[in-house]
Subunit: 361 residues, 2 copies
């Protein structure tokens, strides 16, 4: 945990230089252009060339009747589906917390939307035949490193129920936006778990093991838990809390990122999403949350793309002076983004509203 008023240190900066968020103006695109989708890399990007991809195999084994081993050709030969999915890092917003958990120092931009193509995980599990005593499915990536003294391959699990659900439908994906996965997004094959924070979507997928006991690996039992104190077991991080972001209007000051707009009508637009239920309302404030108005919602996501963001827009009549713009989303479960953030030790699932300072002149 950082001390009060402690600035970002070199270690956090080294993470910020590797990982990156979406430049907020790219919220104007339905699908995030290549290279602008957020990335969070725990360890190194595995170096996988075309030869290594051709030799790649994925075992599906453990508590199954018929263990499978698929190569890329076998996976591509199976019926595929494409889902448009909005993915967000569980640590988004962490750097604004006080005290600040020391880790990847996200502000508000760790999000992106892509079209992912692959084979439904439930297809593979049905083919393998999950044994009745199975409880979880463990996914292991090829990325390897050390975290708080624990050497590990990155690994996460889902319950059998979540792994085989029709909605959200988990994918074993080999294409992003109609092209092979970029190295940083899991080439040649990754998991995509719609509606969940990104930690569930294991990249560089190397192994699927069905187990008869709950998985207790580091990323499941130690990291990615809601905790107030270091000793409690904590609750697991799962689905994405509702959030709206605005593409900042006007143009920026290079250093402060304060926006400049001219007096008169200004179009405000952005995206809103929730991994728990559809977004049903987006409200905009141009006076730092004192008053709110409803934004106009764009079309609801198409069938199969339910866990992708939704466009919103409104118009603002800007008058000279400084203004703080903010926006908040509400989902069909009735959850609205908070104006201040409940704190947890990991800095997870922080969906405090975005605030944009605008100078109108």
């Amino acid at each position: 945990m950082a001390a009060p008023d402690e600035g970002i240190g070199h270690e956090e900066l080294a993470l910020a230089a590797r990982n990156h968020g979406i430049p907020l103006e790219a919220l104007r695109h339905d699908v995030t252009p290549p290279g602008l989708h957020y990335i969070l890399l725990h360890y190194d990007i595995p170096t996988v060339d075309a030869d290594a991809a051709a030799a790649w195999t994925l075992p599906v084994h453990g508590r199954v009747r018929t263990p499978l081993t698929l190569d890329l050709a076998a996976l591509r030969a199976l019926p595929s589906v494409t889902h448009r999915v909005t993915m967000e890092c569980a640590g988004n917003g962490r750097a604004r917390l006080s005290p600040r958990p020391v880790s990847q120092p996200w502000l508000t931009e760790a999000v992106g939307t892509a079209d992912w193509t692959g084979v439904p995980l439930r297809t593979l599990l049905a083919e393998a035949g999950v044994e009745p005593d199975a409880v979880e499915v463990v996914f292991t990536g090829a990325d390897h490193g050390v975290e708080r003294g624990v050497e590990q391959d990155y690994a996460r699990s889902l319950t059998v129920a979540d792994a085989t659900a029709a909605d959200p439908e988990v994918l074993v994906a080999y294409e992003m936006n109609g092209a092979p996965l970029p190295p940083q997004h899991g080439y040649p094959v990754r998991l995509v778990v719609p509606g969940w924070y990104g930690m569930a979507s294991v990249k560089w997928l190397a192994d699927i093991t069905v187990t008869d006991t709950p998985f207790t690996g580091f990323q499941q039992a130690v990291a990615y838990r809601y905790r107030q104190t270091p000793d409690e077991p904590g609750e697991p991080i799962t689905r994405i809390a509702p959030r709206a972001l605005m593409a900042p209007p006007g143009f920026p000051d290079f250093m402060s990122r304060t926006r400049v707009v001219r007096p008169g009508p200004v179009e405000l637009e952005g995206r809103a999403w929730s991994g728990r239920a559809p977004v049903v309302r987006v409200e905009v404030s141009t006076d730092d949350g004192a008053t709110w108005r409803d934004a106009e919602l764009g079309p609801a996501p198409a069938d199969g793309d339910a866990w992708s963001w939704r466009r919103w827009r409104t118009s603002w009549d800007a008058v000279p002076g400084r203004h703080v713009l903010t926006v908040r989303a509400t989902d069909a479960e009735g959850t609205t983004q908070p104006l201040t953030q409940p704190w947890n030790r990991g800095g997870f699932a922080n969906n405090e509203v975005q605030r944009i300072t605008v100078a109108c002149a």
Copy 2:
């Protein structure tokens, strides 16, 4: 300028979250994969869809006999060339300086290599016919913002001699790695100035004006100058100083990025470049610069790709303990990277050697 021991602030962090360097393990690729090449955005990425790209035109005017206006089809109809170019941000290394200039806080990773395809600028200038009294060519981008109180379109100039040279040959580029430019790299058209720091390669190119007076715009006369005091005019930043980087061996600790390797032979590899002259020597130290050995250089860049990086490798017999690895490049002008950095107010052209901490166990 940051105070002594002042951590990175929220404004610097907001830049670090937008812009990103190359994940150092990607130094293993000859050409940097899409999305991993560094980006430095002064203002917003202009939103240019296919319709806007089709309507885009580039005037070439000012002190020329025949002003031109090219659209994308006209540009693509001209004979094109492809150059492999290593580009580096002039601010690379800034965050390690003391006192630290407050701006985009790069550590060592603001670099990337791409194949750029386009029309040589000298072809366009020959067609337009540069008048005898012309001294500079000014390039203006579509990106707009405010910097230290000055509202501006991003703009830079080259002398007529630099703009029309056969080597380095400046390109008006419309493809990166065989595909249309990604939005963040200048779609639909940008300048590429091989050998120069990235600030010269104006993105989202909107105008080329030949002038009979030196350009005094903000990015030329105020920013991107070597200065020791705020009041001196300073010298312009131009070509890239020599630098070598190593792909960190072994695997990382998530937070500290300390590397872990096993005892025994460890392959060390990376890339080296200079925008001033070919790289002729790369030396590696495994004891924080106390002793050095020569690395083996890969093939020199092909003709036409002279301003791209060169691979290097060596083997290291790792023994248990902590080690600091470092590497330094020397170019044909006889310039070797320094072990400590001469300071300047902008934090420019910092080519102090990279240091990688390794725990061998």
